[in-house]
């Protein structure tokens, strides 16, 4: 049987993929035409604001909205009483674990109790934001204050105030009968770690703390909701997943999914923070009440002060040991993750990620998920990865020092290879870690000696691993009357995937990129697709759209065979035309074919990808720093990121992902950390004091791309965007240690902390 698409000839050179092509949506971005939810203004639209808890921990005794409702210009006021109560464990599907709607409901509107400063307790829709704000001040909330726990130690202390009465620690046998702030305990292990450490020739230990950081997307959360006369709701949102948002909104409102459509507009940065809804269901409820479109725009203060989910703080202890030959014998790790005010993710992925790149016979990794009276945390680009690597890669670096071994040589000796046993016990699929390490060894960033400066300089190396996920993606391709493919993809584009997916379809059809039209469907116009998260979209959408392309082409082949009056398997397809294989055979282009057969019915190719093999991400980073030993200021002089991407669908886009991800990592490494006061209020809730790097704070990030294809994945594509944020904290810390001899145990490594460490 004839097959269509580029991979029909397995070794055919790629024409569109692998090229540095401009984004298909670049022009609207540079002209200001790209449309984000904040840019929408619907006729009759009104504006809503949320009232947020000023307390870190309190019981809500009573909420009186009478005075607010009476204010001129106020159209609707809602509290948790206006939403159905969802019991703990009301699950909606989301990846491998699902999502507990009780938590989603709590972070959108607190019921009975608040667990962090900034948690919403009421919302007001009014004719303008000024009236809405004035109305907030008229809502009376009677709080019963409770003592708060603001860090992991306080939360786990004996007699600590308990946030949630239903939390009985999972993973502890027998299961506790009394509630606590420890939500789960997870163990991954093999061999006898304690015995191996006892016999190790050299050991090293890193005990670190990492402060909460924020994804820092420049676009605050925004939603516009409209309800029509039939009760059908349309929500325009800045979301990483229109289907996940739809499930969440429907569940929170008790609304059938068929009565709701979520339209994903441009996302002004998400990085994991725009998976869960933050106000979308509230906007719909307000729109139902006031019968007008409702817009909610979060202020930057709200985004930072409890209105969105930042990344988890952590306390991590790692001990590693090696034998005489420099081979690792044991890794012992304890990972305590601060989930904020609601239970968080199992630390399992983080634990696996931090140990995955080393072949080690004895492992004992124990993880804890802890709740505290701070904003409920959410995913942030390789969630937990940078925290764990900050500990693990420093421990490895210290072990190198004890062994007197070059850190690159040490990694080479212990690197996981294809077939090595992963922490969870299964063999590694095809990976290119040793290739990466060879590339590091020959690169000037590693070989060139450091140039002397005014202050001590050092070079650090750190590795990063991220597993990513697959979940499901759908897409379909309609062939336009002129023969061009019109692509509707399911996953939201947060990383340039409309461009790379248009490249995939162009490659499959043998067309130029300009011949492909692509857009992301809303939740009623494309098949169910999970959110854009876990470095999964490029890989799984490629699979779905390769399938859809081939489906469409096989339908077209039948029509071409009829037109050319030959058997379908006697046609060759290339460059947008079918040609009869015999010498001098007739040909028909897609354009001609569609012009001739348009009224024979639509040609729609469909594709779905589920349970695709993982596209694990691996990187190695080399960082040079200078440390001002009088002020503690660390300057990153040079930074090089090596990464295996399987196949770089578009090298410019891949570099863009790596460079941006690294700079986010450098921000957390050096200057980004939430500073909570004793009352649980964030003291640096502005982009002035929450210091994300400016163009002057970072060097040009150099990228070295390695391509080790993933078997059984179309084009061998790996995930790209998450792993580059994993190594920077450790790479900087290792460079500081090499420059000064001092180990940093707290991240961010602010100048004050570095100076304190230098002064012992």
């Amino acid at each position: 049987m004839a097959t269509d698409g580029a991979q029909a000839g397995a070794a055919a050179p790629l024409k569109v993929l692998g090229r540095r092509l401009a984004r298909v949506d670049a022009r609207e971005r540079v002209t200001g035409e790209a449309r984000y939810p904040a840019d929408l203004a619907l006729p009759g639209m009104v504006h809503a604001r949320m009232l947020r808890s000023p307390h870190a921990h309190a019981r809500i005794r009573r909420i009186d909205t009478t005075r607010a409702e009476a204010l001129k210009g106020v159209l609707a006021v809602v509290t948790a009483a206006d939403f159905p109560e969802l019991p703990v464990g009301t699950m909606i599907p989301m990846g491998e674990t699902g999502y507990d709607m009780w938590m989603v409901a709590e972070l959108n509107m607190a019921r009975r109790k608040v667990c962090w400063v900034g948690q919403p307790v009421a919302a007001v829709a009014a004719v303008d934001v000024h009236v809405a704000e004035a109305a907030l001040a008229l809502i009376e909330v009677d709080y019963d204050l409770l003592p708060a726990v603001l860090d992991i130690e306080a939360a786990l202390a004996d007699g600590a105030p308990v946030l949630h009465e239903h939390v009985l620690t999972k993973g502890v046998e027998p299961r506790p009968k009394t509630p606590s702030n420890l939500c789960s305990r997870t163990v991954i292990g093999r061999g006898d770690t304690q015995a191996a450490l006892g016999q190790a020739r050299a050991k090293a230990r890193a005990s670190v703390r990492i402060d909460t950081a924020h994804q820092g997307y420049l676009e605050p959360q925004v939603v516009v909701a409209e309800v029509d006369a039939n009760g059908f709701a349309t929500v325009w949102a800045s979301t990483q997943g229109q289907f996940t948002a739809e499930l969440m909104i429907a569940s929170m409102l008790g609304l059938p999914a068929s009565k709701l459509k979520v339209v994903p507009l441009e996302v002004g940065g998400g990085f994991g923070g725009k998976i869960a809804i933050h106000g979308e269901a509230v906007a719909v409820r307000l729109a139902q009440r006031c019968r007008r479109p409702v817009k909610i725009v979060l202020s930057r203060d709200e985004v930072l002060q409890g209105g969105s989910g930042p990344a988890a703080a952590a306390m991590i202890d790692i001990e590693v040991g090696a034998g005489e030959d420099g081979r690792l014998v044991a890794i012992d790790g304890t990972y305590r993750m601060d989930a904020g005010g609601l239970p968080g993710l199992s630390p399992s992925l983080v634990m696996q990620a931090s140990a995955a790149l080393y072949q080690c016979p004895n492992l004992n990794l124990v993880g804890y998920d802890v709740v505290t009276n701070k904003p409920r945390t959410e995913a942030y680009r390789g969630p937990g990865g940078i925290q764990a690597a900050f500990a693990m890669e420093q421990a490895m670096d210290m072990l190198c020092e004890r062994l007197g071994m070059d850190p690159l040589e040490f990694r080479k000796r212990n690197a996981s290879v294809t077939g090595s046993t992963m922490p969870i016990g299964t063999p590694f699929p095809s990976i290119g870690l040793t290739t990466i390490l060879d590339r590091v060894a020959e690169h000037s960033c590693w070989r060139d000696p450091l140039v002397k400066g005014n202050f001590p300089r050092g070079r650090g190396l750190a590795l990063g691993y991220w597993r990513g996920t697959s979940m499901t993606s759908a897409g379909h391709i309609t062939i336009a009357g002129d023969g061009r493919p019109m692509v509707t993809m399911g996953p939201v584009d947060i990383s340039g995937t409309r461009t790379t997916m248009a490249q995939v379809v162009a490659e499959e059809f043998g067309l130029a990129l300009e011949d492909v039209h692509i857009h992301t469907g809303d939740s009623k116009s494309v098949g169910y697709s999970d959110g854009a998260a876990g470095s999964r979209v490029a890989r799984t959408a490629t699979a779905a759209l390769v399938e859809a392309s081939r489906d469409a082409l096989s339908q077209l082949r039948k029509r071409a065979a009829e037109k050319l009056q030959c058997a379908a398997d006697q046609l060759d397809y290339a460059g947008g035309a079918f040609r009869a294989r015999q010498a001098g055979g007739a040909a028909i282009s897609l354009k001609e074919l569609m012009a001739a057969t348009l009224t024979d019915g639509a040609v729609i190719g469909r594709g779905v990808s589920t349970k695709l093999p993982l596209g694990v991400e691996i990187g190695a980073h080399v960082c040079d720093v200078e440390v001002d030993t009088e002020t503690g200021l660390v300057t990153v002089l040079r930074y090089t990121a090596f990464q295996d991407v399987g196949l770089a669908l578009n090298p410019a886009a891949v570099e863009g992902q790596i460079e941006g991800s690294v700079v986010q990592g450098l921000g957390w490494a050096l200057s980004e950390g939430f500073d909570y006061g004793p009352d649980g209020r964030l003291r640096n809730a502005s982009l002035l004091d929450y210091r994300m790097p400016t163009a002057l704070d970072v060097p040009k990030i150099e990228c070295v791309i390695v391509e080790t294809p993933v078997p059984n994945v179309p084009y061998g594509v790996r995930g790209v965007g998450e792993v580059p944020i994993v190594p920077p904290g450790a790479a900087v810390a290792n460079a500081i240690a090499r420059a000064t001899g001092v180990r940093m145990t707290r991240m961010p490594m602010t100048p004050e902390r570095v100076l304190a460490a230098l002064q012992g």
């Binding site: 540095r20 401009a22 984004r23 949506d25 670049a26 022009r27 609207e28 971005r29 540079v30 002209t31 200001g32 035409e33 790209a34 449309r35 984000y36 904040a38 840019d39 203004a41 303008d128 000024h130 994804q215 820092g216 997307y217 420049l218 676009e219 605050p220 441009e266 996302v267 002004g268 940065g269 990085f271 725009v297 202020s299 930057r300 947060i494 990383s495 340039g496 410019a652 886009a653 570099e655 863009g656 460079e659 941006g660 991800s661 690294v662 700079v663 986010q664 502005s686 982009l687 002035l688 994300m692 400016t694 163009a695 002057l696 970072v698 040009k700 990030i701």
Partner: protein, 156 residues
């Protein structure tokens, strides 16, 4: 309270009714529908709302709409001339200097002001000129390259 504001925006004289509490950013986005200029923080710390006021880049969120009368305002919508992208826009497209796109209009306005004044900036001068514009996606490298390339193209 509403008041009539007369000002020049992208070369056009505009008369618009604004709330006295509006910022210039509100005036542009909500009253004139020029939504290319973005709001990222509302207090001058991110640069997404950068526009030119009498040729100088300013944060529109820090300017009252009431200060606009008599001023010449230029926004991202006015950068391309007659459908032709400005060399800076073209360079940003070609160098993949835009990702999520939210900072892009502000970056372009800052870069435009830089090149209007200093046609051949050094890398350090480019980085300084956009230091008031946070970008969370690109790590800045490709933006800096694009601005340098646009300067070089202008110079030819």
């Amino acid at each position: 309270m509403k008041t009539l504001i007369d000002c020049t925006v992208n070369g056009e004289e505009r008369s618009v009714l604004a709330d006295t509490r509006d910022t210039l950013l509100d005036l542009l986005r909500d009253r004139l529908g020029l939504t290319g200029t973005k709001e990222g923080c509302g207090n001058g710390n991110c640069g997404t709302c950068t526009v030119l006021m009498d040729g100088a880049p300013v944060n529109a969120c820090l300017v009252l709409a009431l200060e606009a009368p008599g001023r010449d305002i230029a926004t991202i919508e006015g950068l391309a001339q007659g459908g032709e992208l400005d060399p800076l826009q073209q360079a940003l497209v070609e160098h993949n200097g835009t990702q999520c796109g939210f900072c892009t209009p502000g970056i372009l306005i800052s870069a435009k002001a830089l090149l209007d004044e200093n046609p051949r900036p050094t890398e350090a001068q480019i980085r300084h000129a956009i230091a008031g514009n946070l970008c969370r996606c690109t790590g800045y490298g490709k933006i800096v390259e694009a601005i340098a390339a646009a300067a070089a193209a202008r110079g030819r």
